[in-house]
Symmetry: C2
Subunit: 467 residues, 2 copies
């Protein structure tokens, strides 16, 4: 009996070792293909430099969808199609502008009268989905607050003012997404919470700890209970300047913004598929989102996720990998200001009663990979955790609990599909996120490629072993 | 007895937990100080933009030494001094230039005669420590080889030629230092191995996988058995071009380089010290090297390591940390082309019979931290490994066997001092290493700061618990 047990253990263990070897060889093959012959970087150059910004409803959206479909076809999808969905169509409507006018204090003016008004142009950008100032400038005194608590304490001073939320992006979180979540509420709720007390507009400190002055946009969410008021983000250096001046006196700011919604229009998820050879009905989804904000090239957010998705398809075909399960490569529509693409994908999956095994997203920038985040049952987590040593050599040294992405959230909610995310290093993301500095030049070729390698390895293992 | 054992275990375990809590609080304090009030980034700006290149013997070296001493004093060292050493004084001696002249093949010329010679300027840089072309241009036919093996096979063709080593930086290694070690032999040994067979000069493909065309310098090492010949590195795009043209015909290249040695001169290690309160005779060294190549700002290599070293000192003082042991913060001289600073430091330590507990170096760029490398006994490694969970939250999720640095190598050889290194992410390093693109703008503030945080945490633990 002991001998038998020993034998059995030896068989199991040698099978495991054999599989692990086979897997590590296969993953190395994928990695070598991507690091030697990768097209992600040049594809990203095209998407950012030739197409550029691609907010839902824009011409850039239309061009990027055509490009995406062509990429899926050229990269070897068995089938590629466009999945239609209604998308919102917010437009900036012109150039955003802000000018501060202030009377300098005695300490700033060495000689002469101190009544002269000084003007300074501020580097601002209207928040996504925000209303404009109504074809005319809006001028009001600025009320500086550092938090919602302070807003509540000073609510009687708010009426008729422009509220300036100077809530600092917390530098002490090592994971910058924690700072983003923390400060993000001012961009999201700030306008309506100030409007509640009669504010005419808001200025929000950009959600960043960059050393430069670029303002960072992103969607705001109006509470329908209060009047919609114009809302802008301000660059960090100008935020510091404004805050400093406000210690010494009164400042009026004149804002011009022109944001408004046009009627909903038609957008598309772009889908490429490799049909499964053994379990064609089991679907694995991997993707990023094709839309970007209108003030940047959207290189990291989320051009990177798109070209990584296409690269995994290309690499699988290049090495002749035939998946057991069906793998869908998806470029989602309208993540930034509506999530209509992700919703549509989930709706159709549910309506067709599709079986979705896993959905994985890359939407945290094309930076060096560090971890894979995973949300599923404890048994499933234990299973993916057992693959850690296979993936770690390529950068994702951790497989963490908790993973997903905005675009695949609806699928998880609709069908309880387990979700995963590529978690790259977070230090540089909020320097450029939603700002004009999110450009191709901010992406490193190898970091981008390694992201694709780690995702491909994970997808390969899910495809081979199921969940 | 069982009860007693249980009690004892409980006491030990609660002590451990208490220490771990105390340590994690102290490390968080260090981290918050550096991430909130850090001066490393602005110090690096000064070093790179106001001082700039600082090769041993140059004016930049002298200025950077004065700056370094001032920084040590201002950052709160109990004592700061300059440790004198002789340094080599290699100078580029003028502008390096290379021009290719070739006769295009029929396939490149659609009409007319194909005898016209076409010239193209190549982006090259003379290798450090190399000899010049002797105040006159050197013109010779180019012999392309892809490896030393090919050189040996074709040794009869070498005489009178310029040997072009087009050995590619291997993209399939995930850790780019492996590619550097692999391809580095062509920069180091290439000139003498070609000179052995009568080559007049060599061109080496830059040790990089950058997408741009900047050439990357670095020291070469002549074998005294053969004539010293001029040696340059060529940018990757020009290397590809040259290689492509050579498939089709003959190319002559004209080189002008002017490198030569002036007499040795005086340089200095810059040392700041915090005196230990309990074990002042036990010394912990932490440092980077102050010199850089002459063709760049030396921001990552190794301005980053210098400002991180100064930052650890500043942060310890700012939070009022009084080390048990003596900590020396060292900016080493002449790492790039002589290692005289590191040698001097070790010599003096040995001569004075100093007790060195640990030496740690940051010389792999100011990128996001990933691991700490450690070289010491197995027991010592087990001890530092037990600190992993304390450091991991700040980026160094691994403590690997094997760590050190060029400057602290001599101390290890002289006194068997255990050595450690900060191992940041390696993906971007060889894009800019020893090239004109190693500038301040290539450094991210938070990545730089987090490097200092992880090093400080490690130094703090070694100081507290010994090794």
């Amino acid at each position: 009996m002991r001998k038998f047990t020993f034998l059995l253990l030896a068989v199991i263990s040698s099978t495991t070792i054999f599989s692990q070897n086979e897997d590590s060889i296969q993953i190395k093959r994928i990695s070598d293909e991507i690091l030697s012959n990768g097209k992600a970087y040049e594809n990203l150059r095209y998407l950012t430099k030739k197409i550029g910004p691609r907010l839902a409803g824009s011409q850039g959206m239309v061009k990027s969808e055509q490009w995406g479909l062509k990429m899926m076809q050229e990269s070897g999808a068995d089938m590629a199609w466009m999945q239609e969905c209604k998308v919102p169509h917010w437009v900036r409507g012109g150039k955003d502008a802000a000018n501060a006018a202030y009377i300098p204090s005695r300490s700033k003016v060495k000689k002469g009268p101190i009544t002269a008004t000084i003007k300074k142009e501020l580097d601002i950008v209207a928040l996504g989905n925000s209303v404009g100032t109504g074809n005319k400038p809006l001028t009001a005194e600025v009320l500086l607050v550092h938090s919602f608590d302070e807003l509540e304490r000073r609510k009687d001073e708010v009426k008729g003012k422009i509220v300036f939320y100077n809530y600092k992006f917390n530098p002490t979180y090592v994971n910058t997404f924690l700072s983003y979540r923390d400060a993000g509420q001012y961009r999201g709720q700030g306008p309506s919470r100030a409007s509640k007390y009669g504010a005419k507009a808001v200025i929000v400190r950009s959600l960043s700890h960059a050393a430069d002055n670029h303002p960072h946009t992103g969607a705001t969410r109006y509470d329908s209970a209060y009047a919609k008021i114009p809302a802008v983000a301000i660059g960090l250096r100008d935020a510091d300047w404004l805050s400093e001046q406000l210690q010494e006196g009164t400042i009026k700011v004149t804002l011009i913004t022109n944001g408004h919604f046009l009627p909903d229009t038609i957008g598309h998820n772009i889908i490429g598929e490799l049909k499964g050879t053994e379990f064609p009905d089991e679907i694995i989804t991997v993707g990023g989102h094709l839309d970007s904000w209108d003030n940047c090239e959207g290189a990291h957010d989320d051009g990177a996720g798109c070209v990584q998705t296409i690269e995994i398809l290309r690499a699988f075909k290049a090495i002749g990998y035939k998946p057991k399960r069906t793998i869908r490569f998806v470029l989602f529509a309208n993540e930034e200001n509506g999530l209509r693409g992700g919703n549509k994908y989930a709706e159709e999956a549910k309506a067709k009663n599709e079986k979705h095994l896993l959905a994985m997203e890359s939407d945290a920038g094309g930076f060096t990979p560090r971890a894979i985040g995973f949300s599923g049952s404890d048994e499933q987590y234990a299973k993916v955790l057992s693959w850690k040593s296979l993936i770690a050599p390529y950068g994702c040294t951790e497989i963490n609990k908790g993973g997903g992405g905005a675009d695949i959230g609806p699928l998880n909610r609709a069908l309880k599909t387990p979700t995963a995310s590529l978690n790259p290093d977070t230090q540089r993301y909020f320097d450029i996120h939603h700002a004009r500095s999110d450009v191709f030049e901010a992406v490193n070729k190898r970091e981008l490629e390694l992201g694709a390698v780690n995702m491909a390895a994970f997808i390969y293992l899910v495809d081979k072993y199921g969940l």
